[in-house]
């Protein structure tokens, strides 16, 4: 009797186990692979959101769909966007989010990124970048010369340059973590559209934007400053450099190379109520090219003189970058975290973005030249 009852129960239960009631077939989805976020000039609170993704239909006239809607928040814009799409919007495969410079400078970055972070299925490893001198929706309309889809091209461009150490990894998750954390402000790569005439075809990474604690883009580091920043922040992944040094009475000698290893030590403390931070950077360098009159390269004296000249040059550039970030009041180096870890009681009552502007930061650089003119995998 009990067995029969159990069998009957199992049959009834199987009705509940139909499963997959919320199944999402990929052909029925509008996969959004890129988002462009602009600001409405007439209404600063209003966002203009453009979504782009692959068109699955064989009858589609273009390989990519693009939809632009407006809203005071991303959710509102997405709801409005869905009304224009015959397929369900899905963000799980999102690759890149592009902000226009106007939108980034409006002070809405934190708000929009918080919205984005709360999109349940969004890929937190999606890249974030800012486009200069163009609208974000124009970036998604780009038809690159070597890639039919703009979002694929952009993602590869950012990924590749991050892998070779030209830019730091800037994803939705990293932004959210950095803006939530105390003592560090977020950074985002900046791109510019390039091409002949009025119709740009490609994009170029031109630097790094600093976002302050209020969510406002406050300045941009150039591409060469970005490399210095990466070394100073201890984020360098074998970055290349090119600079001019004074070498044994010869001024302005061009030198380029590869930083093989970066080691950063930061010591923070409070002295007379003010934060004092000592940053010590040790770099191992391969020289790619040196335009200077040398009798013999492989001499200890040549290596030592080069090391001293490069250390002076790196130190000067680092202090310039540091001063820039202090003027912006944006601690993109995350030095505030060291102060907080060292003296949490002092940090608790302070506005770090204000303290950072005037805090004393000492930078000491040591360079060790390992090779001259010999390289393994000389990536540019």
């Amino acid at each position: 009797m009990t067995r029969k009852a159990m069998a009957l129960l199992m049959v009834v239960l199987s009705l509940f186990a139909a499963g997959c009631w919320d199944l999402r077939v990929i052909e029925d989805l509008s996969l959004v692979l890129a988002l462009g976020i602009d600001q409405d000039e007439s209404n600063p609170g209003m966002l203009i959101v453009t979504a782009a993704g692959p068109a699955f239909s064989q009858e589609a006239s273009e390989p990519t769909f693009r939809t632009t809607t407006m809203g005071y928040c991303l959710t509102q814009a997405f709801m409005s966007m869905q009304l224009e799409r015959q397929r369900e919007l899905a963000f799980g495969e999102m690759d890149v989010v592009v902000f226009s410079e106007e939108a980034a400078r409006s002070g809405n970055m934190h708000r929009v990124m918080r919205d984005l972070d709360q999109v349940r299925d969004l890929d937190p490893n999606a890249w974030v970048c800012i486009v200069r001198k163009a609208r974000a929706q124009h970036v998604l309309n780009l038809v690159p010369r070597e890639e039919s889809r703009a979002f694929m091209y952009l993602t590869t461009l950012l990924e590749r340059n991050s892998n070779i150490g030209s830019i730091p990894r800037a994803t939705v998750a990293r932004y959210s973590i950095q803006h939530s954390a105390q003592g560090i402000d977020p950074i985002i790569p900046v791109i510019e559209l390039i091409g002949a005439g009025d119709k740009p075809e490609d994009a170029r990474i031109v630097g790094l934007a600093a976002i302050d604690s209020r969510g406002k883009m406050v300045g941009t580091l150039t591409d060469s400053e970005t490399k210095t920043f990466l070394l100073l922040a201890g984020l360098g992944n074998r970055p290349r450099f090119s600079t001019h040094i004074d070498y044994q009475g010869q001024s302005g000698c061009a030198v380029s190379g590869l930083v093989r290893k970066t080691k950063r030590e930061v010591r923070a403390g409070i002295s007379r109520g003010r934060p004092v931070i000592d940053v010590r950077i040790r770099l191992e360098v391969d020289i790619l090219n040196l335009q200077a009159g040398l009798d013999n390269v492989l001499e200890e004296k040549v290596f030592r003189t080069l090391e001293k000249a490069l250390a002076r040059d790196f130190q000067g550039n680092m202090l310039k970058v540091l001063r820039k970030t202090q003027d912006w009041g944006a601690d993109i180096l995350g030095l505030g975290r060291f102060v907080r870890a060292q003296d949490p009681d002092w940090y608790k009552d302070k506005d770090w973005s204000e303290e950072y502007r005037d805090c004393q930061v000492n930078v000491q650089v040591e360079v060790k030249v390992q090779r001259i003119g010999t390289l393994v995998s000389p990536l540019y």
Partner: protein, 213 residues
């Protein structure tokens, strides 16, 4: 083991600075989180039910201690890596920090590591529920009649189902978890005290030779 391996994937983004200063909020603050953590450690009281069926009783204490130590290490590891990757402030505003942490990790074939983890973890949860389910049905059968085990097994099913689906409101689920955690710890403390008292009053011999008898 596969579920634990997934924990290592987002580790390249671990930053020790995110967990510093360690103990900055004071010892009492750390101690204050104990009731919330207690829920994860509940369940070992099932030993009281299954103990009579265990043949090698001499090893059971060592195995159980090892199990508790493993859970403690996993729990601590979980907290440290999540704080190290997500940061304290970002973790605090997450409803499910561990899922967010896993979401950051990627595998070449499986893009959504969090989904893979949930798939494996559900199997673990069902395995735990099955043990507790057996313990409940077996205890009720022992109280009533041994023949009624199958009846109790069938009758308990709707209760398990209702517990799984009824608390729809997120806040209610978390409150229930806190209540169960605190009551569970109190229950275990009382139960252990009572059992020790009984053992002492009856003069039970717990020495190595006596356990096997």
């Amino acid at each position: 083991v596969p579920a634990l391996a997934l924990f290592f994937l987002p580790l390249d983004q671990f930053d020790l600075l995110s967990v510093r200063p360690i103990g900055g909020e004071g010892f009492l603050t750390i101690l204050g989180a104990t009731p919330s953590a207690s829920f994860a450690f509940l369940g070992f009281e099932v030993l009281l039910v299954v103990f009579p069926f265990i043949t090698n009783r001499q090893r059971i204490f060592r195995i159980y201690t090892l199990t508790l130590a493993t859970i403690t290490v996993i729990y601590m590891w979980n907290a440290v890596v999540i704080f190290g990757v997500l940061g304290i402030e970002y973790t605090q505003i997450q409803v499910w920090p561990m899922i967010k942490y896993l979401h950051i990790g990627t595998l070449p074939v499986v893009e959504r590591v969090d989904n893979l983890f949930q798939f494996i973890w559900f199997a673990q949860v069902i395995a735990v529920v099955a043990v507790q389910y057996y313990a409940a049905a077996s205890t009720l059968a022992a109280i009533t009649s041994k023949r009624a085990y199958h009846l109790w097994a069938a009758l308990l099913w709707p209760i398990v189902y209702l517990i799984a689906v009824l608390p729809v409101r997120q806040v209610t689920i978390l409150r229930a978890e806190h209540i169960v955690g605190r009551l569970g710890m109190a229950f275990i403390a009382v139960m252990v005290s009572v059992l020790l008292l009984v053992a002492w009053l009856r003069g039970l011999d717990e020495s190595e030779g006596a356990l096997g008898k």
